[in-house]
């Protein structure tokens, strides 16, 4: 492969033949390390670092037990965020798409979650329960799928109708669902659900997927995120808890979530699929950064805007080099 290089390009590529100055690379490296070490140590001493305690199911069930209860009913009814999510957790939704590309769907189910079973029934089964909950569990497990769904969705609808105010829910044929939801709420209040979800019937556990997903289905985590200014729609991706600096380097990723059509979840096709469009935009922009020297216009900015006259001013002065015409 032979390219025709301009004289300037050839000059830039050749080893430097002009004046040199002394330079001690090891000394420079050592000084840099010492300076940065001192800087980091001082910053750590003065400011510390953020560490807001993790939230718990116990905290959720105690501080907002109606919401926890209603979320549990949604998990049983299959109407929660997780239950309707689609891949990679289940096939109950198509997920997002960019035009004809259903990347989410194509990737398949790799972390299977059955919201009713994994979040509610299994944890209840793995604990000693009151006779009432025991009876509800056996009624649930012997019922048909259709019957279960009917009980749970009827109850879920009734709760939604009264806007989550449990005391206002009229009587109806909800089967074992109220007893199950009540059992799980009591379990969560006592702190037992945190442990039950974590162990998931095993001894060792390193996968927190189920806890995180169940936790986010309710209002507790979302409210805490809003209170800490972490919501994506208000640049939260860049923010940190407390007064600490956050991930300022995510400003561009965060930026897209602030402007239409990405801000409007009801606009099709882009707003409704904002997550994947922004992911694709950022992927392309990252490639753009990597290949920036190939992009016409951008690659000639450094020649047009002469910041380099400042960077190399002592060399230009000592050699009497004027700006090149171009």
């Amino acid at each position: 492969m032979s390219k025709v290089l301009s004289p300037k390009e050839e000059f830039d590529a050749k080893p430097w033949a002009g004046k040199l100055r002394k330079y001690d690379i090891l000394k420079e490296g050592t000084i840099a390390l010492v300076v940065v070490a001192l800087l980091v140590t001082s910053l750590a001493f003065i400011f510390g670092s953020p560490d807001e305690k993790s939230l718990t199911f116990k905290g959720w069930a105690i501080s907002n037990s109606d919401n926890f209860y209603a979320t549990t009913v949604q998990e049983l009814a299959g109407t929660s965020g997780t239950a309707t999510y689609g891949r990679p957790y289940n096939t109950n939704g198509d997920g997002l798409n960019v035009g004809p590309l259903f990347l989410q769907k194509w990737a398949g189910v790799t972390q299977r979650i059955n919201a009713a079973n994994d979040f509610v029934i299994e944890p209840l089964m793995n604990q000693v329960q009151s006779p009432e909950v025991k009876a509800a569990l056996s009624q649930w497990s012997t019922a048909t799928e259709t019957q279960r769904t009917k009980w749970a969705t009827t109850y879920d609808d009734a709760i939604t109708k009264v806007e989550g105010k449990l005391s206002a829910v009229p009587n109806g044929d909800y089967g074992p669902v109220p007893a199950l939801a009540n059992g799980l709420t009591e379990m969560a209040k006592a702190g037992a659900l945190d442990a039950a979800l974590l162990s998931q019937g095993g001894f060792f556990q390193t996968d927190s997927t189920k806890q995180i997903l169940f936790f986010g289905d309710g209002a507790y985590l979302d409210d805490a995120g809003t209170a800490a200014n972490l919501q994506g729609g208000t640049w939260g991706m860049m923010n940190e808890t407390g007064r600490y600096p956050g991930q300022a380097w995510l400003w561009l990723y965060s930026f897209w979530y602030q402007i239409p059509p990405f801000t409007n979840e009801d606009s099709h096709p882009i707003g409704a699929n904002a997550d994947v469009y922004i992911m694709v935009i950022m992927g392309l922009m990252s490639l753009g950064l990597i290949a920036m020297p190939l992009i016409p216009g951008i690659r000639s900015l450094p020649m047009r805007i002469p910041i380099h006259r400042g960077i190399w001013r002592s060399y230009y002065q000592s050699e009497g080099i004027k700006r090149r015409k171009r």
């Binding site: 002009g18 380099h308 960077i311």
Partner: protein, 207 residues
């Protein structure tokens, strides 16, 4: 005979392209005289501090710093090293952009640096996920949707603490360290890019 041996060929090619005088030089072209040139080495210094504080955190386990005040301080070292690392790296990037430092066969050096930048964001992100505090709960729940929507979540599960922990302390730093090394070796091999307005008439005049 040595022409066909991989080992001999690799050694000869190294010696030709990157002799020890280039690898650890004691001179620089005289135009390398600006504070903007120190941000590359400052970035590496901050990266060293990240690795050092990270090693201590790794030895003590991911939840240690919640309960030990020394642990919290080491966590603070890690946190501020990361803030400085990104600040220095971005200033380095701005500097190299305005010098058009990809000139003269240095395109691959730019590419390796930009890849390190993008990969650093991913590495820092996994760090935020393994803090085992409210921040990581929030970030895991929010970030999963983006990755899932692009099909990445199927194998890169941000809500899986174990997976993120291993990637953050093993795979990502290894790749990042290797790419940084390659980036630095490329800089040493090609030398620092000459000034935009300089050409052969300047070096000839110098002789």
């Amino acid at each position: 005979m040595s022409q066909k041996m991989w080992t001999a060929r690799a050694r000869e090619s190294w010696q030709k392209n990157l002799p020890i005088e280039k690898l650890i030089p004691d001179t620089q072209p005289s135009y390398v005289a600006s504070w903007i040139y120190v941000f590359g080495v400052l970035t590496i210094a901050a990266l060293s501090m990240i690795v050092l504080s990270g090693l201590i955190l790794a030895f003590a386990g991911p939840a240690w710093y919640h309960t030990s005040s020394f642990g919290h301080w080491v966590n603070s070292l890690h946190f501020w090293s990361v803030q400085l690392f990104f600040a220095f790296m971005v200033i380095h990037l701005w500097g190299k952009f305005w010098m058009a430092a990809w000139r003269g066969n240095r395109f691959k050096t730019w590419v390796s640096g930009a890849v390190v930048f993008v990969l650093s964001i991913a590495t820092a992100f996994t760090g935020y996920l393994i803090q085992t505090n409210f921040d990581s709960q929030w970030i895991a729940f929010e970030a999963k949707d983006g990755f899932n929507s692009a099909g990445i979540g199927a194998f890169f599960n941000v809500t899986n603490l174990g997976q993120m922990l291993l990637l953050h302390v093993a795979f990502l730093p290894a790749v990042l360290g290797l790419l940084t090394l390659i980036h630095v070796l490329m800089v040493r091999k090609r030398g620092v890019v000459p000034p935009i307005d300089a050409d052969s008439s300047n070096t000839e005049a110098a002789k």
